[in-house]
Structure formats: C-alpha cells, structure tokens
Symmetry: C2
Subunit: 656 residues, 2 copies
Amino acid sequence: MVHRNKWRTGNSASNSTTVQDEPAQRELRFTTTRSEKSPLNLWRLLIGRPLRTSESAKERINPIEGLSALSLDALTSVAYGPEALLSVLVVGGATALNAMLPITIVIVILLAILVTSYRQVIEAYPTGGGAYAVSKANLGKNISLVAAAALIVDYTLTVAVSIAAGVGALTSAFPQLAPQTVPPCLAFLAILTLMNLRGLGETARVFLLPTALFIIGIYAVIVLGLIHPLALSAKDLTFHITSKTTQTLGILLILKAFSAGCSALTGVEAIANGVPLYKEPRVPRAKKTEMLLGLILGSMLIGLAVLANRFHVAPNATQTALSQIMAITMGRNFAFLALSIIITLVLGLAANTSFGGLPILASLLAQDNFLPHRFALKGERQVFSTGIWTLSFFSALLLIGVNGNTNNLIPMFAIGVFTGFTLSQIGLVVHWKRTKPSRWKRKAAINGFGATVTGVSTLIFLLTKFLNGAWLVVIAVPLIILLFLRIKNYYLRVSTSLQLGTIPSKPKSQETTVIIPISQISKLTQYAIGEALSLGQKAIALYVYNTDPTLDESQKLTPTKKDDLAKEWMKWNPGIQLEIIESDYSSIVKPIVDYIDQLRNSIDNQIVVLIPVIIPDKGRYRILHNQTDLLLSASLSKRSDLIVARAKYRLDRTER
Amino acid sequence: MVHRNKWRTGNSASNSTTVQDEPAQRELRFTTTRSEKSPLNLWRLLIGRPLRTSESAKERINPIEGLSALSLDALTSVAYGPEALLSVLVVGGATALNAMLPITIVIVILLAILVTSYRQVIEAYPTGGGAYAVSKANLGKNISLVAAAALIVDYTLTVAVSIAAGVGALTSAFPQLAPQTVPPCLAFLAILTLMNLRGLGETARVFLLPTALFIIGIYAVIVLGLIHPLALSAKDLTFHITSKTTQTLGILLILKAFSAGCSALTGVEAIANGVPLYKEPRVPRAKKTEMLLGLILGSMLIGLAVLANRFHVAPNATQTALSQIMAITMGRNFAFLALSIIITLVLGLAANTSFGGLPILASLLAQDNFLPHRFALKGERQVFSTGIWTLSFFSALLLIGVNGNTNNLIPMFAIGVFTGFTLSQIGLVVHWKRTKPSRWKRKAAINGFGATVTGVSTLIFLLTKFLNGAWLVVIAVPLIILLFLRIKNYYLRVSTSLQLGTIPSKPKSQETTVIIPISQISKLTQYAIGEALSLGQKAIALYVYNTDPTLDESQKLTPTKKDDLAKEWMKWNPGIQLEIIESDYSSIVKPIVDYIDQLRNSIDNQIVVLIPVIIPDKGRYRILHNQTDLLLSASLSKRSDLIVARAKYRLDRTER
C-alpha cells in the first residue's frame, strides 16, 4: 500500500510517501514545533543558512556574472599572454618583435574557433564538464578520463598560479611582506574558499565591480593608445618592417611564439565546464557569456598587439608589456596606479574560475563512479562542498610546496587546458559525424582545424617546457587516471557484493542483549538501564573492579566499592543482572572488551553495547566526563558484530 | 542472588561476580578464542602492549633507578646552582667570592633538613603527592591547593627549562643548528613523552648509564681538584680571606646569594611526590633514594665550593663555573669533552623528573575532584597517560612561546619548588604536633627552622625576580587554584544532579521505534532492517528523494528513482514501512532530521536512528563510503532524545 502524507516542516513544503506492506497501522499527525538553532553559529555566519533548491537560483549566475565568476582566468591573460609571446620573439632580435601582430591575429582566429565550439559544447552537454562530457560521449571512457585528469591538474594549478600572481604583485608593492608570500596566499585562498562555500552567485556579484573596472580600463588604454601621437606617426613604418621580418624568422620560432601566446586562451573552456551554475534557461545564458568573453578577449588582444607594435614595446625584466603600454598611453599618474592595482586584484580573482569548474567536473566523475560519491553530494548551500574543499586543500599544498613561488608552475598550466581543447574539438568532430546536422561537414572541418592547431600547441608546450616542469603533468595525469580506474573498480565490487539490482531475501530479526558498562548507581545508570530495556529482550550491567594489589584503597579508580555495589544493587533491584568483573588491568576497557568477546562467542543474539554518557549543560564541561565512552568506542569502532550506542543523559534533564 | 563465575580471558585469570535479582536464567560457558590483534600497530610498537597490574612491577623502580628517574633535576643543579651563587657574590667584589664556601655549607645543612623531612613525608604519605598530600592532611584544602598549583607550575617549567638547557648546550656545540632551537626541543620532548607512556621503569633504566657517568665524573673532578697542586698551595690563603670578607659583605647580598644558591635544591621534593612509582615495599625504597640523593648532592656541592674557592673561580660569560673547575682539574682533553657532553645530556634528562611527579599529583587532584577524572585513569601501560600528555602539551606550548629561549623562565622555576618546600615543612610541624611521636618537639623545631629558611628564600626569590618573570607565577597560581575550585564545584553539582548515594527509582522501559535512512535496496538495507527489527517494536525505512527541478535526471543525487523504489519495496515486502520524503534541500540530512523531529513530537516512544554503514575490507576505502553517516551523526550528536547507532555491514561478510 502506498499513501502520501503532506506536511509542513518549518516553513517549507515537503511531501512524504509511505510505502507499507501491511494495512496502515498508524496515522501520525505531525506538529510543527522545531528548533531552528544550529550549534555552529560562527560557521553559519560565514557560510549562511542552508538553502533549498528553490532558493538556490539566487546563487546561480546570469551572463554578465558569468564574466566575473568564470571568465577572469581568460580575460586576465591579457596581462601575461602578449608578454609570453614577446619573450619568445625577442630571441629572434628586435625586428622579430614585429611578428607579434600577425601571430596575435592567428591566435584570435583560434579563439573564435574555440568560442564557437564551446558554444556548441554548451548546447550539446548542458550538464557541464566541458571536455570530459564531450569526449565521454564521443571518444569513449579512456579518452574522457585523460580530459578529466588534465582538467583537474589545470584547475589546481590555476588556483595556485593566480593567487601567487596576485599576491606577488602585492608584495612587490609592499616589499616588507616579501619574505612571507605563503601566509597571504593562504589567507586569500581561505577567503575564496569561504565565498565559494556560500555560493557562486554572491561571489560573482562581489567580483563584478573589479571585473568591470578591469575591462573598461583595458579598453581605455587601447583607445587612448590608438589616438596617441606616437602611435599615429609610427603606423606606416611598422607595417613595412613586419612584412620584411617574417621572412627572416625561422618557422620554429614562430611556432614557439604562437604557442606561448596561446596561453592567453586558457580559461576559455571554463564556461562550458560550469553550465549548471547558470540560472535557467542556462544554455542560452552560458552561450552568451562565452560569446561576450570571445569578443572582449579577442578585441583586447588585437588592440594591445597593435599598440605593442606601434610603441616598439620589448620584454623588460622590471615591467610587463601591458604595464609599458599603459605607461605610454596614460602616463604614470593616479589612473595608471589604479588600473595596476585592479589588474593585480583580478589576477588573484581569476583563481575563482577553478572553483566554478572543478567541483562540477568532480561531481560528474563521482556520478560515473570515478571519484568518491561524496563529490556528487551538494552541501547545505547547494554547492559541491567536497570538491571545493579538495581544490582548496591541494592548491594550498601546492602553494606551500613551491613556497609561493609559482614561476615553475606556469609552463605546466597551459598543458592541461590545451589537452582539454584538443580533446573537445576532436570530440565535436565525432559528434558532427554521428549526428550529421545541416552543414555538418563544414562544422567538422572547423573543429578539425581547431583540434590540429591546439594539438600542435599542446605538443610544443610539452616539448619546449618538458624539463621546466611539464614532466610533472605527464606523470600526474596517468596517476590520476589510475586512481579513477581503481575507484571505479572498487565501486563495481561493492555493487556486486551488495547485490544491487536484485531483491534480497527477507530481513531476519534476532533476540537482542544489551550490555551497559556502569561505574556506580545513579540517575545516569537508571536512565541507561531504561533505554537498554527498551532496546533488548535482555540487559546486563557491567562493572569493572580493579584488583591492583599495589594500590591503597584510597587510590582505587573505581569510586564505589565492590561489595557495597552488589548490596545496593540488590536493594535497588532494577530488573537486570549486574556482572562484576575483577580485573588486574588498569584500564577498564580491556576487561569490558574481553567480556563482550566471551559473550559474542557464547550466544548468537544481537549484542548492543550501550554506553551511558553525560551531556553537560555547557560544552566546555565535556572534558570532565565520559572518558570511558571515548576509550571504549575507539576499541569497538571497527566491530561489525555488535552495535555501539550511547544513552545520553542531559544534566539539565527534567523527569519525563 | 549473587553468584560468582570464574573464567579465563586470554591468558589472564579474571573473576566475575553476577548479581541478579531473579533466579539465574542463564548459564554462560565462556570459550576462550579471542583475537589479540590491535589496529594501532605502529603505536603498539612505540608504546608496547597493555600491561596488567601484576606485570607493572617491571615498570616500577628501585632506589638506584630512582636516582635516574626522579633525581636528575636535583643532581644536575650542581651545573647551575654554584654558578647562580657566584653571580650574586661577584657584585660585592672579587673578595666577596670567598663567601661561597660558608654559604654552600648552610645550603647543605638546609638540604639535610629537607632530605630528612621528605623522608618523613614519604613515610607518612606513601601515596605520593609530596607537599600537596602533607598540606592537605595538615593545613587544610585551600593551602594544599596552593601547594598543588605551585608544583604544577614548577613541573611544567622544569620540563621546558631542562630540555632547552640540554638543547642549548647542543646548539652551542653545533652552531649551524642555532636558529632552530624549537624543533630539536620538541623532538626531545616527544621522545621523553613516548618513553614515559611506555613506563617509568624502562625510562629509568635507559637513563641509568648517563646518570652513573655523570656522578662518577663529578666525583672524579672533585678528587682530582683536591689533590691538584694549585689547590693545595692555595689552602691557607683562602681561609684567611674568607674570615676577613664576611664582615664587609652586606647581609642582603649574603641573603640574595644564599637564595640564588638554593636553586641547587630544586628537585629534592620529586621523590616524595612519586612514591607510587617504586616497587613494593615502596616506602623504604623511596627513602633510600632520598638519602642517596642528599648524600651525593651535598658532597658534590661542598666539594665544588671548596674547589671554586681554591681556584678563585669567578663567573664568566663564556664558561660556567663547573666547566672552569673541570678545565683546571682535568685539562682540556678528551675526558673534559666527554664529561661536558654527559652533563649536557643529563641536563636534558632532568626534564623527566616532572614526568615522574606531575601525573601522580594530577591523579590525586582528580581523585579529590579538582581536576577532570580522566587524570586518575591509568592507561593501558599502567601510567597516568592524561597527565603525561597534558604535561607534554603545556611544556611544548611554553617552549614554542619563548621560542626555545628559557632564560626568562629560570627565575620563575624555583618559586614553585620553594613554596612546596615551605608548605610541606609547615605541614610536618602540624603533623608532629598532632601525632606527637617521641621527640616530636625536636622534630617540629627542625621542620620549623626549615620552613622559616625556605619561606624566606621564597620571598627573596619573589621580590628580587618579580619583574624578571616571577609575576607570572604570582598570576598563574591563583588562576590554577580557581580552575581547581570550579572543577570541584561542577563535580559537586553533577553528583547532586545524578543523586549519587541514593537509590533511584526503578528504570522504565518504552516501546522503541527504529528509523533507518536508506538510499537503495541492497544487502546493506536488508542487514540494517534485520538489526532494526531486533532492536525495536517498529521500524521505518526513510528515503529522501530530491526534487530539484533544475537538475537533469542524470544529475539526481539519489541513485534509485522514487517510483521504482516504491515498486521494488512492495515486491520485496521486508516487513517494515518505507517512507519517501520529497525534499528540495540538496542535503539529505535536513529532511531526515526534520522527519525525526516530527516523529519525536508526535510519539512518546524511544527513537533509535540506525544508520547503515559499510565497513570496507581495507581502511583506505573508507573515504568512498558513508558520507550520510558522517553528516547525519554530526547533526544528531548532541541530541539526547534519541539514540544514534550504526548497522555495520562488512563487505567481506559471509552469510550467518
């Protein structure tokens, strides 16, 4: 028989369905008193109260918030992408620097391909996961795990590198902080973690202002630069040199420069990974952010490349290329300082991109049994808190491990992303071939081109940076895949062992014997015996009497003497037997465990060990109580042949 | 009816007495199979297996071992006591140094009084506790708490100061270690802690060799010094100067020098505090150690004072007085180096004196309800492990707090001891007056003299060192006493609340309803329902169905779909009802707690929440399971209106 109860819990409506194999024996009328107070008040203050799904829309984002929550990693790459490109070109001499603009144009074309294909990914795989989801659907399990592992490595590195970049800029402004890079990094990480545990929506709104200032600032620099007299006069000269120099540059140098400049594309995938973070309808919203990101990032890159060319900007140990351009266009005034600070801040905030992507990816992996199931459980605030904590933990380890100096991490950083790019492009080619929509051949060709370019870039990254740290990625990715497979294998074994999917035989009940360790006759003992008699057919009180011959009577650990206890027990006559164990172990735990073992071996009953514990009226008094509980619970914690429970007696209890 | 069972547990004989109010319904025949394996194998390796009281004699000490276990604090004071005395005298000019010998003689007389009275304390209070026990019996509760608090402060300081002194000498030998004083201090402390958790007997035997080498070495120095040509020739001159100079020295300077020199007496009380650590018969053995300590320390002090006098040793920033004497008598050869190293080592080992004394003192205080009762519980190795851990913890805090530099702690160090000295002497005066043994007036006079001298010394310490750190003791002691009194007061309230000493009314049993949160139908569910039916008259299976409308079906947290589950449940028909809760909270904990609250308010039954958990075959798989258990247990941990238990299902389980 199935019937449905509808009742109100607190102020929310819940439905309850009762499935009962016998006629309804009961008709519960649920009342509505319930205390809302939580013990962890400080935590509540930091994280906020539990959210219902219906409320969690607040914590979901719109297209503009998507820019601040998921796109800062990509947008801020204008601060280091052009720099990386110039650093390679300068090897070819000063004139080689003029190759920057054409190379940037190719990069922006690649950006357009990526943006287009990730918009297609969003449409086809709205549950998020990006490259993992695409390659799982189109390229098979093993390749999807490569994508997942590469993304996990990339996400963790992104957090560490972004935070260290932000804090690094801070410490160069305040040199007295310099020797302590790690503590401010960890503090920043802690704040990010807490914000993400609250929910991405609030985080996105907090980041909105710096993001807007950053975008406006960079555009202002570009516009001011384009109308700058120095730029206007340099125009013709530049184009002349460019056409001449391309011939003299080796193809390898150009490829290397292209790959280095591609680091400006990292983060483009984050929106597709985090689609579920959007408000409904999420697909068009996410696609809109992806488009905005492409337009803003592309125009910024080209604008800055034009200016770098016209101002003859060269890499410089003390000032980044972006900063040089800013100094020329704006002058070294208050606006220059303000924009520098904003760039620093958003560099740090870019770490948040990972917090948007990794927890969702981990939840998908957990649903597929490749990660512990708890990664798929949402916490009270509707976020995947296990993923957030795990990302924080490993990022913190990384920051501590490299002592806040992430220079060596930067080369590794792009490999994961580009592996993901390549696999999702290849996945899309297969997708088009499989689904065959209109003009699928053209679509497949574009993605095929994208896959080739990003694949080559991945290889160049790997080869040129192998000794600089990329080897670590090459080691980490297979290890992570191995972990995935072992976890999957284990869950398979469990599911076989639990006979999931089959109907088990009917449960059997047994007689129950309850054992209560006691130390004296008191209200606590009385309460525990009452609880025990409710639980079992039979209850035994157990008292350990220490026979240490070297102790004076005054030093005995047991507060009540043996014979007195036996006499009082008979006078009390509480309805259960008392067992007095004389032991010459000083700890009372061992004799109790020995007794339980003996009992276990002699009867086939279910055995419950019911430990009487006192719940003091104030938490700080806990240390004064229940030492037996701690020790005995620890000794019995792994026993599956008995049930350990506590009879909790409140000191401020009133008689029921 | 009371009857007695005798059975064998493992290889030990235990007695069990059964007190039963009804005719014996059962006759258990205990079999003897029992697994001895413990999960904490590394810990077992470090600490050793649990000891029976009958075995713990091994861990108890004899008079000679008492020297290494409890007397190093006193013996090693020859390394700094004479130094402290000279440092004060040198203020009165070079000739004032000649007052050293007469002052040392007075100190040794005081030592004799202290040794005599502590031998009397051992006899009268063989349960240990020294000054606390004496003053509790003779001077009342409040004064005994002053003694206890002073001793606790002293014990903690002793550990920190001794370890830092040992490590300090080490780092001056290996200057490259100098900036990292704290880590080696903590490592040393960790080793001492582990050794004491194993037992004092083994510790004492390990310390025996360095202690013997130390005593032999110092005697060798004294003998070599006395027959040294420089000493022989200086003899007459010295006595001449001494008699002349005493007149010119102010009485205050002499008093200050005397007090400073008295720091050589710290540690004399430790044996009386630790009497229970001795093998039976413990009183004569402890008295023997006390006597040995007095003889050795007294003769060393006088011998060194004579040599200091004859060699005109003056305080020196780079070398201690003892080291100067050693250099003159032995020359700077291999023997000098070896003895220096031994002195360094035993200075560190002197910290062990506190580990002998504090845990016993704390256990006595716990028995008197002034400290948490767990301080009175012996651990598996027959040691008071809570006291040992607590002492380690606070010593470590102190070492970290002063960054391993204990110079400022040394003045505080003697105040606690001398407060103890004074109170135990006064206590003995009262004791003699009360018990009136033969020649009690003479005994009382000696102790009265001792009390006056040590009392004056305490005052001088306090006044001269008040600003150097002694104020901390003056603050700490009342705070500790306040803590004692609050704990006592709390235990009194508990005992009233539990109605200790009265026979409570008969326990009442209730109907029991068991709630089992489930996530699917499996062997685990079957097992948990069987356990639940054994426990209660009624059981309810609870399934939370997440109604998040924004999730795709594939993203649902609940692995089984609602309607399928209801259908399968009816097909299975396990004998209990299934309750399906639809919830729009993402966490399944809140709906379950809400349901329990509703049930609690609607019925008066005892409610058991039985959480099905999987015990994986290997510990490392735990992270893959039971997230619901963790979250639900945490939410319900403070509820005393229900019993939380776990139905533990082993994956490698075979059908019973």
